[in-house]
């Protein structure tokens, strides 16, 4: 009678573990390749050499220690926001307010650093992160409360709160927070050195913000999948009515989810200010100058990672690579920067378009390799 030990190990390994995983990887990769092909057509139309361009893209993203550092730094706010999005989406709440929450976190942490600049670094940096988290949590909790107690859709309130936050930042940087200068522009002074995020060893621009982001991703994973709170949030996201019948505090969960999501974005805001090369809060030309549109790109990263905090880590890193490499592509080929924006859009559309395809193909692969799903 055949037992489990009689079966050859390798083929079963292939069928059970690798086939669906390989398919799962192949589909987004194919999607990216397809998107880059579309990009190549656009490059050709502009008279540029796509091969040269994509070599520059890869080089700019991964081609050196400094490039990898830049990619990691670009992906870091995407990871932080994305992790918050994972939590919110899994609770059934669509949080489009990342931009505003980043701004709120940045304002809080900046104000704190201006208030207590002489605090020793080892104390100040954690305090700044906490301030960022609180600012973002507050800005996220408001739409949560509006939804819970007044039935205001969080899509509406988060979009509006983004506008309000950006205008409020503009207001603060015109006078209260602005650096006194002969010709005033919308940025703060160079903030206290005690607030500078410590650089990581290695001689690159990499700072601990990246480690913090990864740590928060792990914490979010633990929260979502290993804690009672996470169980509750996911239950509410899965079926709010059933959860209500089961006696779970659905309303509170919505507020909590948005607050936590906002806190993650708020930390991103603090890190973006104190880890930047300028070490200032810069709103000149608009808040997007320092938020890097992470409020929206983070949503993309989260969905690339299947709304799983740990998978969001490589997703954010890769998306960061695309954004970083794009800068080098533009510089080498001297194509309009607008092309890079369009290319990013094409990649997002193709990869997102292929995601469900991935599950379908994985199921097909399972059937073909004879494993019962």
């Amino acid at each position: 009678m055949p037992t489990a030990l009689d079966e050859p190990v390798a083929p079963k390994l292939l069928r059970v573990r690798l086939a669906p995983r390989l398919v799962g990887l192949a589909v987004p990769v194919a999607a990216v390749v397809a998107a880059l092909a579309v990009g190549a057509i656009m490059l050709l139309a502009l008279g540029a050499n796509p091969i040269e361009g994509y070599v520059a893209l890869a080089d700019g993203a991964f081609g050196s220690g400094n490039a990898l550092a830049d990619t990691a730094l670009k992906g870091m706010p995407l990871l932080l926001v994305g992790v918050g999005i994972c939590i919110a989406f899994r609770t059934g709440v669509i949080n489009l307010g990342g931009e505003g929450q980043i701004i709120a976190g940045a304002i809080c942490s900046t104000s704190l650093s201006l208030a207590i600049p002489d605090t020793p670094r080892i104390l100040l940096v954690p305090l700044l992160l906490v301030a960022g988290a609180l600012g973002g949590a507050f800005w996220g909790a408001i739409p949560g409360a509006l939804k819970t107690y007044y039935g205001v859709s969080e899509i509406l309130s988060t979009i509006m709160m983004n506008i309000i936050a950006a205008q409020f930042l503009s207001f603060l940087l015109l006078d209260w927070l602005a650096e006194p200068r002969e010709i005033r522009i919308q940025q703060t002074e160079r903030l206290t050195l005690n607030g500078d995020l410590p650089l990581l060893p290695g001689g690159t621009r990499l700072h601990i913000g990246v480690l913090i982001a990864v740590a928060i991703a792990v914490a979010a994973f633990v929260l979502l999948f290993r804690s009672a709170l996470g169980v509750r949030l996911r239950a509410v996201g899965h079926n709010p009515n059933a959860s209500r019948y089961a006696g779970m505090p659905v309303q509170r969960s919505v507020v909590e989810a948005l607050a936590i999501s906002g806190a993650c974005a708020g930390i991103a805001g603090a890190v973006l200010v104190f880890g930047s090369e300028s070490h200032r809060l810069i709103g000149e030309g608009g808040a997007i100058g320092f938020t890097q549109n992470a409020g929206f790109n983070g949503i993309v990263a989260a969905l690339f990672g299947g709304l799983h905090p740990l998978a969001t880590i490589p997703a954010a890193f890769l998306f960061g690579g695309l954004l970083t490499g794009g800068i080098k592509l533009q510089r080498e080929l001297q194509v309009p920067a607008a092309l890079i924006v369009a290319l990013n859009g094409v990649v997002v559309v193709f990869v997102v378009g292929s995601l469900k395809l991935r599950t379908r193909l994985a199921a097909w692969a399972d059937r073909v390799t004879g494993v019962r799903t």
């Binding site: 859009g345 559309v349 378009g353």
Partner: protein, 310 residues
């Protein structure tokens, strides 16, 4: 303050509010129709930009406003087909594919604009179309009846949309598809075909909104829409998926923007208050909704792709 309350200034402000509301209204109606059938499209801003550029460029090259509008709507249909492919056929997550379309529209229109036009060249925008007799009514005429044709079309679409959704078979199917697609399916309604239509309509209206913006201004520029597409999406929720509600939202946003604008011009608002009051339209939208809160729920099948195999 007394300067504002002269009749002519108030009249001009209200007229300005209606003009500002028009792009919101068109895009929002389109999004509303899509959402009533269960499809969320976050890429409205990108489609608006595409419509705006196509309209501007066509007018620049051919001098025909009609052709400009038609081609812009066609571009909207093309984007709608693309979105249908991604959403209905490949069942992509609806929120994110929209953001990709936004980025694509933003970058691609800017790229084409830089390469094909270069420095902004003004074109002759839409003329004011004075409705005979009505336009001559003192004050009221200036507020309502001295706008360009796309403004009238936008506001006429409100009762048309209401009629189609509430009183036609198509509208009935549309609503069913948005609430209980499985039930609709068993009754022989092709869920994905209805959604294809609503997506095409929605994207066409978004493109038309962009065209209205570009043709009213007679110019195109990078990021011309400046966030209007996202506000239009928000207004769908404000309007509780009803055409009249959406119109109220667009008007609220437009009139508040126009009023703040006028107060800044007169000097009621100045200095630091200027940036604070610029958040007034967004803030008031939330506040009004809080006070008017009626618990009309979203279409139940919103954002859920329909898969026949269950």
């Amino acid at each position: 303050m007394s300067d504002f309350f002269t009749l002519s200034v108030i009249v001009a402000t209200l007229a300005s509010g209606i003009r500002l509301a028009t792009p919101f209204l068109l895009a929002s109606l389109g999004e509303m129709i899509g959402q009533r059938s269960g499809v969320l499209n976050l890429g409205v801003e990108g489609v608006m930009l595409i419509g705006a550029f196509v309209a501007y460029f066509t007018l620049l090259r051919t001098g025909s406003t009609l052709l400009a509008v038609l081609l812009a709507v066609t571009a909207g249909v093309v984007m709608g087909l693309l979105y249908s492919l991604i959403t209905l056929y490949m069942n992509a997550v609806q929120g994110i594919s929209g953001i990709g379309i936004y980025l694509f529209g933003l970058g691609f229109t800017d790229l084409l604009f830089q390469k094909q036009v270069g420095t902004p060249i003004p074109v002759k925008g839409l003329d004011e179309l004075h409705i005979p007799l009505l336009a001559d009514i003192p004050h009221v005429g200036e507020i309502f009846f001295q706008h360009s044709i796309l403004v009238y079309i936008a506001f006429l679409l409100v009762p048309v949309a209401w009629f189609v959704i509430e009183r036609t078979t198509f509208g009935l199917n549309l609503r069913a598809v948005g609430e209980t697609p499985e039930a609709a399916d068993t009754l022989g309604v092709s869920v994905n075909r209805i959604r294809l239509f609503t997506i095409l309509i929605g994207n066409s209206l978004a493109a038309l909104a962009g065209a209205a913006l570009a043709l009213e201004l007679g110019i195109f520029q990078q990021n011309l829409t400046s966030g209007r597409g996202f506000i239009a999406i928000a207004l769908v929720y404000f309007g509780a998926w009803r055409p009249l509600g959406v119109m109220s939202g667009a008007l609220l946003f437009g009139v508040v923007s126009a009023t703040v604008n006028q107060w800044k011009t007169i000097g009621i608002i100045e200095g630091a208050a200027s940036s604070l009051t610029s958040m007034a339209p967004a803030l008031l939208t939330i506040v009004v909704l809080v006070f008017v809160s009626r618990r009309i729920d979203a279409p139940s099948a919103l954002t859920k792709p329909f898969d026949r195999s269950g």
